[in-house]
């Protein structure tokens, strides 16, 4: 049964593009405020973080900072610097790219240490640390291992992918959910453009959905829920 209340605060969105103006950031935040009942967090370009946090102040929408986004490739000490910057400039959540390179070298301790190093500097200062294993690049067995590694740290969310063409499938979410149960939240991200797919993601165990255009999905939900009544 579809009820709109199911979707409250279950969407993250973002305006992470290399060429957006301050004006566009402001317009985007205005739009997010209109949908604030449904939107949990908004992620910005690192150089727009300060502006984003200021615009979201006094709302119940979290400011989300990104670290090593969208392709990783940064050593732990630089990820820590990004995280410190994020905390200092008003982030309530950080979405960080997992150390995929160490992961692919099967150096799992290093993957966890990378996450823990960030956790140490953000601990108690933000609400959520979400870690992106980039499921698009992983086999099913690797998805299970990555999910377990992330759940073994104090990170609070596994975010499947970071967008930019990555696709998360309903099966991906199911695999991760089966592995981690309720020990950590799951955010499905990448290629989720319709209410139907969003519903399937929730059904498979996603707690949150990240999409560049949650507005369309929420509007679709609103229409659907009226119809169901």
């Amino acid at each position: 049964m579809i009820s709109l209340s199911m979707f409250k605060k279950r969407f993250d969105t973002s305006l992470i593009e290399p060429n957006v103006t301050d004006k566009k950031v402001k317009e985007f935040v205005e739009k997010c405020k209109e949908y604030s009942e449904y939107i949990a967090g908004v992620a910005f370009n690192p150089s727009h973080l300060e502006l984003g946090a200021r615009l979201l102040k006094d709302t119940d929408i979290d400011t989300v900072a990104i670290v090593a986004y969208p392709i990783g490739g940064l050593p732990t000490s630089l990820k820590v610097k990004y995280a410190e910057y994020a905390v200092k400039h008003g982030a309530q959540q950080i979405d960080m790219f997992m150390d995929l390179n160490s992961f692919k070298s099967k150096n799992y301790e290093k993957v966890k240490e990378d996450i823990r190093a960030v956790l140490r500097v953000v601990n108690g200062k933000i609400k959520n640390l979400s870690v992106i294993p980039a499921a698009t690049f992983l086999t099913d067995e690797e998805k299970r291992i990555a999910a377990r590694l992330i759940a073994e740290t104090d990170a609070t969310i596994i975010k499947t992918n970071d967008g930019f063409g990555a696709i998360t499938t309903v099966e991906d979410v199911g695999i991760i959910k089966k592995e981690v149960g309720d020990s950590i939240k799951i955010m499905a991200s990448g290629g989720i453009f319709t209410a139907k797919l969003a519903l399937a993601m929730f059904d498979a165990g996603a707690d949150l959905i990240a999409t560049a255009n949650p507005f369309k999905i929420i509007d679709e939900f609103k229409r659907l829920s009226k119809w169901v009544k």
């Binding site: 060429n19 103006t21 370009n45 990783g72 490739g73 940064l74 000490s77 390179n101 692919k104």
Partner: protein, 244 residues
């Protein structure tokens, strides 16, 4: 350069052999660098994380290590780009002329016409690089001709050594229509017409074949950034074979 003057030695020394894949493991990166060494390219371009590994591998070679900074988003605060630059300097080759810095311009500021901030940021990077070559990536697929000219002028005014055309990252525009396009000879000629001989030009993004490369060299490119260096040189060799 007149392309009739090109030899294999000249061509390999114009190529920054690039690998920015997010999912490489240690073994794959080493294989990539070994192969690049066989061809003796100008340098190897990687993300900061790989700089220590590549530095070690190129210890006895004259090839350069090229670090991608603020990559590929560019919309990163100056202090973090400076921190990245500092990190690759501290963890890279001890000889300054063996490391080059390829930094992505903050296009959000370019689009907001906040030119002072851009110039200041590039100056900071140049200062931090302490004489090392700094290339500014302006991401031509996202710019108008006028913006390409302005970005080039700002790079020159801030003391950078190269204008680099693009990151090659194809995700821009997603989920909308892709904004990606390859760098063209026209892009290179436009940049060259603005910066003249003051700055060099690195053509990158979509440099996949010998003809892509020759077209931009003819238009004035001094350096090529590509993941296809090996294929391009092999193509060149085959062509020479046929011409014999």
């Amino acid at each position: 350069m007149n392309i009739s003057e090109i030899t294999e030695e000249k061509l390999v020394k114009m190529i920054d052999q690039t690998n920015l894949r997010p999912d490489l493991n240690e073994e794959e990166m080493k294989k990539f660098v070994e192969e690049a060494k066989k061809y003796n390219f100008y340098g190897v371009a990687v993300m900061p994380l790989w700089v220590p590994t590549v530095t070690k591998m190129l210890d006895n070679s004259d090839m350069k290590i090229i670090a991608a900074i603020g990559f590929p988003l560019g919309a990163i605060p100056t202090e973090l780009k400076v921190a990245e630059t500092r990190w690759v300097i501290e963890n890279g080759p001890s000889s300054p002329d063996k490391l080059e810095i390829d930094v992505v311009m903050n296009l959000t500021q370019l689009k907001s016409e906040n030119y002072a901030a851009i110039k200041n940021e590039i100056s900071e990077i140049v200062k931090t690089a302490e004489g090392r070559t700094v290339k500014v990536i302006i991401e031509v697929p996202l710019l108008t001709r006028k913006e390409i000219a302005i970005a080039s002028l700002l790079s020159a005014a801030a003391g950078a050594h190269f204008v680099k055309t693009a990151t090659g990252f194809r995700g821009w525009g997603f989920p909308g229509p892709s904004l990606w396009r390859p760098t063209t000879a026209e892009d290179v000629a436009l940049i060259k017409s603005v910066v003249g001989d003051r700055l060099k030009v690195k053509a990158s993004g979509g440099m996949e074949t010998l003809s892509d490369v020759l077209a931009v060299i003819e238009a004035g490119a001094d350096r090529i950034g590509t993941a296809y260096g090996v294929q391009i040189i092999n193509e060149y060799r085959k062509l020479k074979e046929v011409q014999k």
